[in-house]
Subunit: 339 residues, 4 copies
């Protein structure tokens, strides 16, 4: 931490700041500047947000953190990329581009089986589908719940595709974990710390979506919640952030891919469906994601988008998804990844 003193702060004020820094277990180191002094607090500041309270001391102008606050998620602690194993045959973060696809919500046996077969044929390796749906309106379809999980398991049995599905309530973690191969945390729950801690105690991979207004740093702190409980199989997912632009549902922060790659060893997946909200924009965002270096994609596919219970406008039809996958394969090759 760097503590910036006010112009004209007194010697006594500086003395008190130094004393308080020592009390908190750090070493103060003063730089006398031309217009003011700054004090470095030397020591491991990660997670020590208590240093921020120095800002309340007389003579202090502000407090500037220097170190990133996460540890286990950082490249500094683990320089090489993490390869997260899903099954004995499927992993993410290595040489393979992993594509997850399926409907927003599980709606019926026919719908999920038909979609599973279609996305598998097109090259997807994981089936996505929501059984518990966090919906903005209490009057909207809230998902088929356990019945939906059973249909997902049936689709897995039929196609061999592992399944990813969302859990929204700490109470349901155990239930969802009985069915899912990957536990998904949605954007709205990125700082649902009770949920994150429980997932940290599982032996299942977790796909953590970035929230609509979550900074990269906060996103990695949320990953740290899972990691610090012992579960190292965390996959990060950028799905668009909220900005002033309304032409798209959210704004896909594509530069989050290289930023995350610099700061963390965890694999990074892009969700172009929620990011854009419009099916016509999904193909080019799949290509951009692969070119930017993403480790995977999670794409909404529905056999009949105009009748979907949720997120119809952003869902690809199976034939369109198959066409996208052909081009994804070519971009992946240039990016040095196998589909």
């Amino acid at each position: 931490m760097i503590i910036v003193m006010k112009q004209g702060a007194s010697k006594e004020e500086l003395g008190e700041v130094k004393k308080r820094i020592r009390e908190l277990g750090y070493k103060p180191h003063v730089i006398h500047g031309e217009t003011r002094d700054v004090v470095g607090a030397v020591g491991d500041e990660r997670g020590k947000t208590v240093l921020h309270s120095l800002e309340s001391m007389p003579g202090v102008e502000n407090v500037v953190p220097i170190l990133k606050p996460y540890k286990l998620a950082s490249r500094e602690v683990k320089p090489e990329p993490s390869v997260v194993e899903i099954t004995s045959e499927i992993a993410i973060g290595g040489g393979e581009l992993l594509v997850m696809a399926g409907p927003c919500s599980v709606e019926s046996e026919e719908q999920i089986i038909e979609t599973a077969r279609a996305v598998k044929a097109a090259g997807a390796r994981i089936l996505r589908g929501g059984a518990f749906k966090p919906r903005t309106s209490p009057y909207s379809f809230q998902g088929m719940e356990e019945e939906g999980l059973k249909l997902l398991a049936l689709a897995r049995q039929e196609t061999g595709l592992p399944i990813i599905t969302e859990v929204v309530n700490p109470r349901d973690v155990e239930l969802v974990a009985r069915y899912a191969d990957i536990m998904q945390v949605g954007a709205r729950n990125v700082q649902n710390f009770a949920l994150l801690k429980m997932l940290g105690q599982l032996e299942k991979p977790v796909l953590l979506k970035r929230g609509m207004a979550t900074t990269i740093q906060e996103f990695l702190m949320s990953a740290e919640y899972i990691l610090s409980e012992g579960n190292r199989r965390v996959i990060l997912c950028e799905r668009g952030i909220r900005t002033f632009e309304t032409a798209t549902r959210n704004t896909l922060d594509i530069s989050a891919v290289p930023v995350l790659k610099e700061q963390t060893h965890l694999p990074v997946v892009i969700d172009p469906s929620h990011a854009t909200g419009h099916a016509s924009l999904v193909p080019s965002m799949c290509y951009a994601a692969v070119a930017a270096g993403a480790d995977g994609l999670i794409v909404e596919v529905h056999p009949c988008p105009e009748k979907a219970s949720s997120d119809g406008p952003q869902s690809l039809r199976p034939a369109d998804f198959a066409a996208v996958m052909q081009k994804v394969r070519l971009f992946a090759e240039v990016a040095g990844k196998r589909l």
Copy 2:
């Protein structure tokens, strides 16, 4: 809903859209424009997000909702303001300006009792204090949990002040409800629908904070989750939204007060502490909130901000809080409210 057809959409495409609108239980009404047709879907569209999926039909350019999606929270359903009773003597939403104050976190018996006495003396009617703390970092202080709740109850016994405290996990709703007079939902949980539904089944007032990236409309939909479960005692709290500006922790959306007053009958409270993040900015934001027509304030006060476990920089010292309250009283009078 208004369905805007593409320029040059065919008669058949228009026919299919009309057919689908009827299937969904609405009446289609076509306006033939100069460059394109638009179709009104007449009927109660609230909560019927399924109409959005029409956007996937051939010939459709986009779908524009006309009605607000909430009902119970709206002024249309209940034109007069709701007065939410906290105790037999204290209510919010009527002629009184209700001030809630106290530390971010409960840290010790001495700290909470001392603060409770100070804020009471200054004119606060409710004591705030966190026992379960949602913290960005897993390495930060996470709150005293039930021990903290007990200390809050003790402070209530000592001072007579009802208490407001946050619940973050659906699992803890029952526990927190045993102690709290008002259940607080933090900004990060504004779309934790499992939690909202449980709070909707309580007979306790709920203070619902707006999320950092929650639109007014989404905020009212979250209130609707609580209301639609039967609990009508919902208090809304604006606490700053996330913008590009970094001079403040968040940006206080002060115009949310009149916007909410137009759209809903629920009382509105401002949290100037989280909104700004700096104690020096809190007083003027208290005054602005009262002048804008807020029904209450929730303010962080700590006997020694530089030693606070959390949110020190934004906490007022008791003496400063007392001075602020004197001026709040004068502004409240002009605004037509009693402190």
Copy 3:
């Protein structure tokens, strides 16, 4: 500036950084931390963005500025508030709350004279009105140009009210200055540096509006452009920033008032009309602005908003403006200002 070295940066890399800091005229001061070194570059860093380029040197992680980059606009250089004189009788920044009011655009002699009389009667001291209009669409009304300036001058002659009007093109500075008492720079021109420099050479007060995406710091740097050319009569105006919220045209950043008051000596005005975009929200935002400590208001008033050439929805009718002014007077008193 603080230069943060990468973990594991070599001695040579550190040496090069120190060398380069010296070459640029600063003194390097190294703090050896637990996981990395940080180097303070001691010296006046204001305006010396060249130090940022150190980020490109091997071994450097990032560069953190410590000082605010503006000088003349800062409280450090001039601690007492600036009182900007408009005429021999009217000033802003002292004990008076200065209200400027009038239509968005000058549309006719009748319209501007009628409005001028009405706003004067209600207590406004300055008449606003646009003659050169920056409009998003090339097909929208672009203002009456010099003809509009003449009508403003006529209204001034009729009522005695000094006039404020916008200049959008450096070419028109001289022309507008022949008529205006205060030169207004609109939000879209806040970083039109050519225009700012010319205004810095005038002997006229300038009202500088914050841009939709301008940080407080950038806003003060724009003021610095005017100040550094010699014109010290700069008035700052917050008029809403662009955020994700669409219930209002922009989001009024009311906390900009106390933030600016801490950082600069320049007077601060609020424009509640552009900030909200809806007439019904303007009154409460006027009150909030006064309570927050603003030095003035600039409000759109139109005799017949539904027929306005621009910005009708956000314009108050004269009678409504008069009612607002009565309450503004009461709030101003509590805030310690005379209307």
Copy 4:
């Protein structure tokens, strides 16, 4: 336009709205809904923002535009993509991916010639370089002005590369046009309408950068200013928008590429340098841009970024740029474009 009436609006109010719609030259068409009426105003609404003022009429809740406000920029008016000719040999918007590269600022003859040669060798077809620099601080380097233009012309003579350079003041349009092959409008001037109109009267291609807080729709309206003056050679450039995220200088809105491709026929270029602000992020954003379907790139390259007068941290070294171009070539092939 759709005019939404308030619930309970009277027949008289509806009658007045219909009357006013007719006065403005549109045909009113009423849909009687279950809870309120909505009125379609049939007619070409583009540029007719005057309809918005209906929002001020009694009984009106709000006004919803249906048509896009631009004409000449739209796909509806010109469905096929525009190929903008730069010279007889170079064009953008067709089958070629056009790469423009060079330093942020022209600093010396040696610097610009060396860079021009390097970027040409790597495959760039246009040389970029700033002579007039809009800088946030008045104390920063403001560019070499005409001297810089002359050096650019020299570099063109040496290498044969056409040059693109920024114009910031309407006064300098003629001067810059004497040297430049493409006139660049920077992000800060995207709504400098005086400048846009002058550029609309030139016979030179114009590269128009999106502003930091400019919506896609506003961006196309700015293009419309140039087009409507007669100059059809407009190139759009996305360079990052301002969001809450601070890990990057701006947030590259990569989905702007397909959105613009749907809405306009104009070519689209990506500036990954300003979008990210860090050289290490530029390569992957070049690849993503190409994969997303961009028609070109504009990239900052400097022989010695740590000594650059401006934007050093985001500039690539020539050798790194050459490596990026090799991979860009491969991605362009998959995207169906020649480098």
